[in-house]
């Protein structure tokens, strides 16, 4: 059994004043340069400027991440899907305790993480989402109080690599952080295999819709068997008993209260993200009831789920960037609404669009779908073979206005979503 860490840990850390005086000259110079670069970048209208600042700080002081996170209580959030949402949820919950630093802009590589810490020097708590491929490096520097492992599935295979390699890296970093509580979804065999290496795992059952990446056991390569009770491999790797369980909209906590979520954010995946956020916050001393009240106030996540009006059409903007994400998104779509599917293949999206064939677009039969984005033609061919009626319009906003007036669902992958947001005048 896991012995819960006393909530006092947060207060103990918070009492140490993290003023700039405590940082070495090199780090102070790096932070000053980062601030200057960010300000110049903003002034020139190149963007929010944080990431370029973070990059410069890392160049001037490779140890900047370790030094900036010293004396702070840090929570790292990683996994294939749900990082940004879960990190936002945790940030909102931990803000009940005081100022919280975070990379809410989704800049989740080391430069973005540094930028978030530079931007909020007095925050004693930080909630940072980290790209899966950078977790080991960031976690080794930051030595977080809590590490949240959401899920692992195929995503950007050309950039991120195969899922099993990521799982082995997660396993190594869990073993290397004996003081870190690892909040892990025990319904995901890959996440479980990694978190079992932790000295302080906290198992939570939040379900998993997509099983295709954990058919062979991460430890021995044999077939994982699933039944109603969970999953197990003949080598002995098996689903640990969870301390907390999400059932539909209710979180059952071990020996504690049962909490109903009632989120404004839609869907099963967001309920799972919320349950994990509540569990991680509880580890840091926030009661589940307080946490859930904070989560209910969240209506959008960096523009996701929000509605915008484009030439008289009410557009809801959703992000889905891999098969597991699409599987959670398809059930959210309003039954008769037309759908714009916008897919890009920039560096941050992955160049390979094969994953479109793992998405059950057949579920969109009977609607009008518009293929959009840089890879609109790939989407159109996929829809042809799914026997879904569609048109092609590369520009997402033009795709929206090509549809009759009325509600529209727009589902975009990462850079297509970001570009659309900019056109809609958000962030």
């Amino acid at each position: 059994m896991v012995s819960p860490r006393p909530p006092a840990v947060l207060d103990a850390r918070a009492s140490i004043e993290p003023g700039p005086r405590r940082l070495p000259v090199r780090t102070r110079l790096a932070v000053a340069a980062a601030r200057f670069a960010a300000a110049v970048s903003r002034r020139l209208g190149l963007g929010a400027g944080g990431v370029i600042g973070g990059r410069i700080a890392l160049r001037l002081d490779p140890g900047v991440l370790r030094r900036l996170s010293r004396n702070r209580t840090v929570v790292l959030v990683t996994g294939t899907n749900g990082k940004t949402t879960t990190a936002l949820m945790l940030r909102r919950v931990l803000e009940t305790l005081g100022e919280v630093a975070g990379n809410g802009d989704g800049a989740n590589m080391p430069d973005g993480v540094v930028a978030a810490l530079v931007a909020e020097p007095t925050a004693t708590v930080a909630v940072l989402e980290v790209d899966e491929t950078y977790l080991s490096g960031v976690a080794a520097q930051v030595r977080p109080s809590c590490l949240v492992l959401l899920n692992l599935s195929r995503d950007q295979l050309d950039r991120v690599g195969e899922v099993r390699t990521i799982e082995r890296e997660f396993r190594a970093i869990c073993a290397a952080l004996p003081d870190t509580t690892v909040v892990a979804n025990c319904d995901d065999p890959l996440v479980t295999s990694a978190a079992l290496a932790s000295a302080r795992p906290f198992w939570i059952s939040v379900g998993q819709e997509w099983h295709a990446d954990a058919v062979a056991c991460a430890r021995c390569g044999q077939a994982i068997r699933r039944d109603r009770a969970g999953w197990r491999c003949v080598c002995g790797l098996a689903r640990p008993d969870p301390l907390w369980i999400l059932r539909d909209d209710t979180v059952e906590t071990a020996g504690g209260p049962t909490v109903t979520l009632h989120l404004r954010l839609p869907g099963r995946a967001n309920a799972a993200n919320a349950a994990v956020a509540v569990a991680a916050a509880e580890r840091l001393g926030v009661s589940p009831h307080v946490a859930v009240a904070q989560l209910r106030a969240i209506g959008e996540v960096s523009g996701r789920y929000r509605r915008a009006v484009v030439s008289g059409r009410s557009v809801r903007v959703l992000l889905a960037k891999n098969p597991a994400g699409w599987r959670e998104t398809l059930p959210l779509l309003a039954p008769r609404s037309p759908v714009v599917v916008a897919v890009n293949s920039g560096e941050a999206d992955g160049r390979d669009t094969s994953w479109l064939w793992d998405v059950p677009f057949e579920q969109l039969r009977g609607r009008h779908v518009v293929a959009a984005g840089e890879r609109a033609t790939d989407v159109a061919v996929r829809l042809t073979y799914a026997e879904v009626r569609h048109t092609l319009c590369r520009e997402p906003l033009a795709a929206i206005t090509s549809l009759p007036a009325g509600p529209v669902e727009l589902v975009a992958n990462y850079t297509a979503f970001r570009d659309t947001q900019q056109h809609l005048g958000h962030g």
Partner: protein, 247 residues
């Protein structure tokens, strides 16, 4: 008694999707969907049978498909296919087989995974695979040999293995862009067994290759099936490969 409504007519094309639960990392199951649709759209019945891990492999199907997968899954797959040799029996009868990436390597004589373990393959292609120095990732264009058509193949590769062919197999052709087998050629062909490193899924991007496989199984080249969007996709991907990797 079987339900007559659910039993395909004798003339139906029977496609086997081999171990999609293990060899499915790169969405190659899409190849089965492409073949089924292209057959049905021409008014010919077609069925896709998924042969999952732990199930026996039927030898009675017309066309077998194997997709890509990671090292552990690949070892799991080859052990299963050697223990249940329905695929090998079907090839002896003249069935067609199409393997992509890990599926291609499994069809060869042997392959060595990145952990250094060497596995005996099914021996349906004369190709041996060893790990290369770095992963080959990106767009590929292959100028195919005349017997395979006139259009170049376009696909996306993502693999560490490098394959050497013996005299029992011929490559599909030279690579114009990308890595392929690693020696300037791509894929392997012996009789009606064809292997390639191209994902995409490759048959969605290369309808001529899909129809070549269908022609082998149906006994005659299928009728033309013009789909302008696929032509547009091919032009886009061939142009993208020409531009080279964007970094």
């Amino acid at each position: 008694m079987a339900d007559p409504a659910r039993t395909p007519p004798d003339s139906a094309l029977r496609i086997g999707l081999v171990l999609p639960d293990i060899l499915g990392t790169y969405s190659d199951a899409g190849n089965a969907q492409v073949l089924r649709c292209r057959t049905q759209w021409r008014g010919i019945a077609a069925t896709v049978t998924e042969i999952r891990h732990g199930e026996t492999v039927p030898s009675s199907l017309d066309l077998y498909l194997l997709g890509g997968g990671e090292d552990d899954a690949q070892a799991l797959a080859v052990n299963h296919l050697r223990a249940h040799p329905g695929l090998q029996q079907a090839v002896a009868r003249g069935a067609a087989v199409f393997g992509v990436c890990a599926g291609f390597q499994i069809l060869g004589t042997q392959f060595t995974t990145s952990d250094g373990a060497t596995h005996t393959g099914l021996g349906l292609l004369d190709a041996g695979t060893t790990p290369g120095r770095r992963r080959a990732v990106g767009e590929v264009v292959v100028d195919v040999a005349a017997e395979l058509g006139t259009e170049p193949l376009t696909g996306f590769e993502n693999h560490l293995g490098r394959s050497r062919l013996g005299i029992g197999s011929r490559p599909l052709g030279p690579v114009r862009a990308g890595t392929g087998n690693g020696d300037g050629t791509e894929g392997a062909l012996t009789g009606r067994v064809l292997g390639t490193y191209l994902h995409g899924p490759v048959l969605a991007r290369n309808p001529a290759l899909a129809d070549l496989l269908l022609g082998w199984s149906l006994g005659a080249p299928p009728a033309a099936l013009p789909l302008p969007e696929i032509g547009a996709l091919r032009q886009e991907r061939l142009r993208a490969a020409k531009r080279g990797p964007r970094r």
